[in-house]
Amino acid sequence: MAGKTLAEKILSRASGKADAEAGDVVEAKPDFVFSHENTFLVNRSFAELGLEKPWDVSKVAVFLDHRSPANTAQTAAAHARIREVVRKFGIERFYDVGEGICHNLLIEERLIRPAQLVLGSDSHTTTAGAIGAFGAGIGATEMAGIWATGSIWLKVPATLRVDLGGHLPVGSYSKDVALQLARKLGHSGADYMCVEFSGSYLVDTTIASRMVLCNMAAEMGAKTALVPADATVYSWYSSRPSEDRSALCSDDDARFEATIRMDVSQIPPTVSGPDKIDLSDSVDKFLDIDVNQAFVGSCTNGRLEDLVAAAQILKDRHVAKGCRLIVGPASRRVLEDAIESGVAKILLDAGAAIIPPGCGPCLGSHEGVLGPGETCISSSNRNFRGRMGSDDAKIYIASPATVAASAVRGRIADPREVLVDAR
């Protein structure tokens, strides 16, 4: 009998069906669930059932991050309603305005652990894979279903293995790896699958950078993404997880749908867009496209290492005239660390506008909405037409370093070239 993938192992445990394999439909019990502003919709559906409270509030978290602080009176009213719900049900893990983005806080606050089944009513729940947890996005009404029953049907996904070898060259980051993978796979190349990352590149890769890979897997259609827990993750949790080591990784003889191998030492700074994530290519194919707005932040690239990468470019330089740079820390902790380390000062001196921790302009509701004819280069994850505002705006996706370099030049620029320029 063939071995099992990590995804199969996690869903076997969570469903109590010992031999669950890819393609099976199982009834699984999540270890942790969360929702954000759409808790409003979760509660609206949940109320239809007339139940007193969710099945286990210790496994539920609520975040206000998408339109936070409130962008309109309507959002403020929805926030108020959500706070009432949180109080009524006694949900202790509630993160209000200013705390940060759900996907970031799940890991930063150690709300989740390796090999857990984590479900969130947000498509980038795949980010949880950075610490080896099975994270998948669901909708608001089925979150209400989990609140009611503590369980959900899930199809066990096939696993696509992405083996990353080598070391990244100067100027390239995990975001560039993700964008090159998108180019290779296409925007639906991982549909319904688990993308499991492996290979020597990961050994020295931070959890923050792993979050980028797992986050971006959603843009290729993945149901979930996994970086199996290793020494980096154990030290993040300050102890070896209590789980048996074999429960945290795929078996050598597990059945993979396919294996893709990439040598990251060949990956240049990469840009994607406009409109489709798989329109990605080396930055030199995009040079000289004028940029009105540059955004460093989001659940993809809003952590300290991302702000540091931007600051390395921006130190003693200034954002070009006619261009604006918006920086959105992914959490309060990130903002505090950026202030303490002096990174925030470098960004401010360069002309950046730092916004409160949260999703910021990524989803087009506030804090940097694009106007008709404008172009934005963003470290976020989606460049769909109209995503960040006007349908007539263009969005390009890149690493924080490439975004910062582009802000300095006022047009899409190669971070390696900006770095060697005399200040």
Partner: protein, 164 residues
């Protein structure tokens, strides 16, 4: 699924930002959302769609954000069913959970035109042209999905299961 209904045809990879742009998500009222249904893909759709109409779409419909408002907007606008080559997974789940019929057919897309009227025949499990000369069959709906759709969505299904 009785009666004849207009087909609205869209291509591949219609994402949820096109189905209901993020700028309309502040207001959770289904009627408000319906006014902007498909706005990013076709500004004429919301005003022109009638109760019972059918969306005929290509691959990967509903990709992107998990926003359930995409389904709420289509349903409230009057769309009775979607016929696609394939769906993005969260959109598919959301549709089932809110009782919007999501059908899969590989052949319907090439066979039918935008603006054409057609009949959804549940006995034949097919979409059929008015003159009955064209017929495209649907893939069977998996049992675990059908049991939720038959109750009109996840909440009605759970109400029954939990005896509420």
């Amino acid at each position: 699924m009785p009666g004849e209904h207009r087909i609205w045809k869209f291509g591949d990879d219609v994402n949820t930002d096109l189905i209901i742009p993020g700028r309309y998500l502040d207001n959770y009222d289904p009627k408000h959302l319906a006014l902007h249904a498909m706005e990013g893909a076709s500004p004429e759709f919301a005003a022109g769609v009638s109760r019972g109409d059918i969306l005929l779409v290509g691959e990967n419909f509903g990709c992107g954000s998990s926003r359930e408002q995409a389904v709420i907007a289509l349903k409230q606008a009057g769309v009775s069913a979607l016929v696609a080559k394939s769906y993005a997974r969260i959109f598919y789940r959301n549709s089932v959970n809110l009782g919007l019929m999501v059908l899969v057919s590989q052949s319907a897309y090439a066979m039918f035109d935008d603006g054409e009227e057609a009949v959804l025949d549940s006995d034949e499990n097919a979409i059929i042209s008015i003159d009955r000369k064209k017929k495209a069959f649907f893939e069977p709906i998996p049992a675990h999905v059908l049991k939720i759709l038959e109750q009109g969505g996840l909440m009605p299904y759970l109400r029954k299961r939990l005896g509420r």
